[in-house]
Amino acid sequence: MVSKRIVLHFPHRLVNQPIVYKLVKEFDLQFNILKAYVTPQEEGLMVLELSGKKENFDKGVEYLGSVGVKIQPLSQDVIRNETKCTDCGACVPICPTGALVVDTHSRKVHFYDNKCIACELCVKVCPTRAMEVRF
């Protein structure tokens, strides 16, 4: 079994196609939609947690690529600007997945990007706007 959080960028022409349905039907993959939106006249974006057997997962990803969906691992999308972060901790209780945690000794805030689901709650809550989104 593999389980990965990925970001899918749908070009304009694919926005009204049932792409994710095919991942389930033909590749037996499970998905959990973390975020989805379509910008008018532009493209669709979906953040998914995708899991299944390794070979099915790989085939599913290959399928996505073949139809023109651009795939990006999630961890690159929300990043912390280290020069702006003051390690205050205002983001910590807001983060729903525990990706932002205060270290008990250094009292610095750690960002575990593998736990991040790109909900972006921290982005505006951060007093120095140190959390940045790069979809």
């Binding site: 003051t86 390690d87 205050c88 901790g89 205002a90 983001c91 910590v92 209780p93 807001i94 205060v102 008990t104 250094s106 009292r107 610095k108 505006k124 809550v125 007093p127 120095t128 706007r129």
Partner: protein
């Protein structure tokens, strides 16, 4: 036991013993108050939190021909300044925002740029855009001015914060069923989080709870440079209720601080945006506490476990000015990551950076050890706990 004069002599000779307000805790635990007081000359404190009553005044120099900005208008990077002074003196408040900022029209407003950000940019040495308008007089005929300006070209650029360094603060929760956006951060409904804002055992006024050493004229670390305590801060409340150990259990004393902005650093004066609330300046302050006697050291060695704050509902009680505490928690509990509020575990978040407060206390310690920073004798006391000095609420009266 020792005087500030004696401590300064030791600083000059390079013999001074300085510990931070964190290090002193272990030292006193190991050696006892008496022995530790014999050894330690100075305890350094630190705090790095958002402080809205911050600002800076500038004298920008006279233009040719002359302009009288006083009574006119002035903006830096579109942020309006106060102009009710003489020709080229202006004051910039940390919370000022451009006229065309949407504020909370699209709620919650983002407040991305304001006076605090201008102060940070000036401290970093960046050029800023200054615009001024005036009504014109015989002696100051000019009516319009637009120029780039740099802090190094100003005659004076002085940080003057009329309330900073709060001695203790509320722990904010939201008992309503809607998300709220406050100066204490974003508060989730039904007490979803509890936000606090104090460095606790590193915080200057918590470690000198009766203002025995900190007074008017005390030299401090301010925004990465040197500053002074100018006065008690606004809303100074020395008569607030205290615990048996003497430390206020609610927001109490405050300081007004002043210093030359030109020698301050942008990493210690950070423009800050509170979602749905506004712009504020996060200010780094460090205050040295001279160990004049065992009593002073006893206070300076207080631990997070001995310092308490009140949990306050910002959903209804705070905005409606309904007094009351939902309970008392120690800074040790707050730093554990969760507290109990009405029987429920609530995760905590801090607005004041403890790791930066620690850096400040260490930086100030190194300045003193290197002989770059000597201590000052306060020229006058702050209003004391027995002074009767206390803030009042506004008494609204109809205008007839």
């Amino acid at each position: 036991m020792r005087t500030i004069k004696e401590i300064n002599a030791k600083i000059k000779k390079g013999e001074v013993v300085v510990v931070t307000a964190e290090e002193v805790i272990d030292l006193v635990r190991k050696k006892g108050i008496k022995k530790a007081a014999e050894e330690v000359d100075v305890v350094t404190t630190g705090t790095f939190g958002p402080m809205c009553s911050s600002g800076a005044y500038f004298n920008i120099g006279h233009s040719k021909p002359r302009i009288k900005i006083g009574g006119g208008g002035c903006k830096i990077n579109d942020v309006p300044l106060y102009t009710g002074f003489a020709a080229v003196d202006v004051y910039l408040g940390a919370t000022a925002i451009p006229d065309d900022d949407p504020r909370n029209k699209v709620f919650p407003g983002e407040f991305k740029y304001g006076g605090a950000h201008v102060i940070q940019e000036l401290a970093s040495g960046k050029d800023v855009r200054l615009e001024a308008s005036a009504y014109g007089t015989d002696c100051y005929p000019r009516r319009k001015l637009e120029t780039l300006i740099n802090i190094k070209d100003m005659n004076e650029a002085v940080l003057f914060n009329i309330r900073n360094c709060y001695q203790n603060y509320n722990v904010a929760v939201n008992l309503s069923d809607k998300m709220i956006y406050t100066y204490m951060g974003t508060l989730r409904p039904n007490a979803g989080n509890a936000n606090y804002c104090s460095a606790g055992q590193l915080s200057p006024l918590l470690k000198d709870p009766y203002y025995k050493t900190i007074g008017i004229g005390t030299k401090i670390f301010l925004g990465g440079g040197i500053g002074y305590v100018a006065w008690q801060g606004t809303q100074h409340n020395p008569t607030a209720p205290r615990k048996d150990n003497g430390v206020p259990k609610v927001p109490a004393g405050t300081l007004a601080v002043i210093g030359d902005l030109k020698q301050m650093k942008p990493e210690w004066l950070v423009g800050t945006s509170m979602l749905g609330y506004g712009v504020t300046l996060t200010v780094g302050i460090g205050v040295p506490i001279p160990v004049l006697n065992e009593e002073v050291l006893g206070y300076a060695a207080l631990r997070d476990e001995e310092l308490y704050a009140q949990v306050v509902d910002y959903g209804t009680n705070y905005p409606q000015l309904i007094p009351g505490s939902l309970g008392e928690v120690s800074y040790a509990q707050l730093k554990s990551g969760k507290i109990k509020v009405q029987g429920k575990d609530v995760p905590t978040g801090a607005l004041s950076s403890y790791s930066k407060a620690r850096e400040i206390s260490e930086e100030l310690k190194s300045w003193i050890e290197k002989g770059e920073f000597t201590l000052t004798e306060p020229v006058a006391h702050l209003p004391q706990a027995d002074s009767g000095y206390a803030p009042k609420l506004l008494n609204e009266r109809p205008i007839v």
